[in-house]
């Protein structure tokens, strides 16, 4: 058993199972499994998931579309921006 998404505790087996069920994009997998939605926002798992998708569906890794990157780059306390003018 390989843990792929450590924030949401998702294994390679679970990802492969969802790919077999028809979830064929990063965006689909993200929304059904919560991969890339945790504290690291995919910094730890995006590339691994893309690699699994590429392998399972036999498509070049450069053609795997990554979900949108959004701010903040790393988690910041609410007060860090709230206090600043």
């Amino acid at each position: 058993m390989k843990i792929i998404c450590r924030c949401e505790d998702i294994t390679e087996e679970e990802i492969v199972q969802k790919i077999n069920e028809g979830y064929h994009t990063m965006d689909d997998l993200k929304r059904i499994l919560r991969v890339t939605m945790g504290l690291c926002q995919g910094k730890g798992c995006r590339k691994h998931i893309a690699k699994i998708l590429s392998r399972e569906l036999n498509i070049p890794i450069k053609d795997i579309v990554q979900p949108t990157y959004r701010p903040p780059v790393k988690p910041i306390p609410v007060s860090a921006t709230a206090d600043k003018e």
Binding site: D27, L39, R70, I76, P77, V78, A82
Partner: protein, 376 residues
């Protein structure tokens, strides 16, 4: 033939998928075309709140019926949808707001909603650590709720596939009309899909889709930003709504406890842009921490945006059009997710039976748009 069906739905959000689900239940073969992935438009960008506290008898009824459908969804769709009835609390920071809520509560209670105006001590019990400065009380409905938009749309889509198809990444570029009647739609990759019924459930793009059959509908997207924090122990159960001009609203997601929230920008931000602004990050943090100071220590992990599909009066459009077979279901004004199940059911009933199960003339395409939904 995969390319022919009883109905084509344009849009894979809650409205399109709920409509497709109920049409499928009525025996229709549905082909659903989504320009990106399911929920990519607005549904997947919403914060997942579901409330019944609206201001007019029709909107209250639709919201109450929708809530019933959320309540039985787990069994219907045979999967968990993270539905949780934690309530909605509308805070009153002025006598005027309090009076508005009191009047609405009367209407809402008459229709059978368990809602009441609660005082400060009750609020402080329900929301530990809330700053009571200037607070006069709030309208609280404990049966209002939240759920997971992705899982619900996924469940609806699976049901549609039992009879028909769900096609992601199919961007509709043309709707083909013969003798004032829809016959087919064509997608960017030059596929053509045939059906006597075409439903425009394109959310923020509803106006563009309608223009393909030369109909102008009054649906205009506005950008709303949202943010989510790291996961934490849940310490308040409801959506807290601060309706001051510089207010915001947020709750803790069920089951993992992240605080998710947004506010309505003044002035509004019309258009399709789904970027993010630093101003929102700063303001949202300030507004949240002003209300519950301990939230100042929590960390924001993501900040994104989505569209509200606004109509001039704040009510949806659910109607047939002047082109035979072309239906419009949209203009949800930020209430698409919470009202979606009932709107989908209403649309399916209207389409299959030829008339709506109850009076929805307030949602008509050709109506006087000067009224206003107060509980925006």
């Amino acid at each position: 033939m995969n390319n022919t069906s009883d109905a084509i739905i344009i849009g894979g959000g809650i409205i399109g998928c709920a409509t497709g689900y109920y049409l499928t239940k009525k025996g229709f073969k549905v082909n659903l075309l989504e320009r990106a992935y399911l929920t990519a438009g607005s549904t997947g960008r919403c914060i997942g709140g579901i409330r019944q506290q609206f201001s007019t008898p029709l909107s209250i009824k639709v919201a109450m019926e929708s809530m019933k459908k959320f309540g039985t969804m787990r069994d219907e769709l045979k999967q968990d949808v993270e539905f949780h009835q934690g309530g909605y609390l509308f805070l009153a920071h002025s006598e005027e707001k309090k009076q508005t809520y009191m009047k609405l509560i009367e209407i809402q209670r008459e229709m059978g909603i368990d809602v009441s105006f609660i005082g400060l001590s009750e609020i402080e019990r329900l929301v530990p650590g809330i700053d009571p400065t200037g607070l006069l009380g709030g309208a609280y409905c404990p049966t209002d709720a939240q759920a997971n938009p992705f899982l619900i749309v996924d469940g609806y889509a699976k049901a549609i596939k039992e009879r028909g198809n769900v096609f992601p990444y199919k961007d509709v570029t043309q709707i083909n009309v013969q003798k004032e009647k829809v016959v087919s739609v064509t997608t960017r990759d030059n596929e053509t899909y045939f059906a006597p019924v075409v439903i425009n459930a394109a959310g923020p793009f509803a106006r563009d889709i309608a223009q393909m059959v030369d109909i102008d509908i009054q649906v205009y997207p506005e950008r709303h930003e949202a943010m989510i924090t790291e996961q934490m122990e849940r310490f308040f159960d409801m959506m807290v709504v601060d309706y001051r001009p510089d207010g915001c609203y947020f709750n803790q997601k069920w089951p993992h406890g992240s605080v998710i929230g947004c506010y309505t920008p003044i002035p509004n931000v019309p258009g399709y842009d789904l970027g993010t602004s630093f101003e929102f990050a700063r303001e949202m943090g300030r507004r949240m921490a002003r209300l519950i100071p301990r939230l100042g220590n929590t960390k924001i992990i993501r900040h994104w945006s989505g569209s509200y599909e606004m109509t001039p009066d704040g009510n949806p459009i659910l109607d047939k059009s002047d082109v035979d077979g072309f239906w419009i279901v949209g203009g949800m004004c930020g209430h698409g997710f919470m009202l979606g199940p009932e709107i989908g059911w209403l649309a399916a009933e209207y389409i299959t039976e030829g008339k709506a199960p109850y009076d929805i003339t307030e949602f008509a395409l050709h109506r006087d748009f000067t009224g206003k939904e107060v509980m925006k």
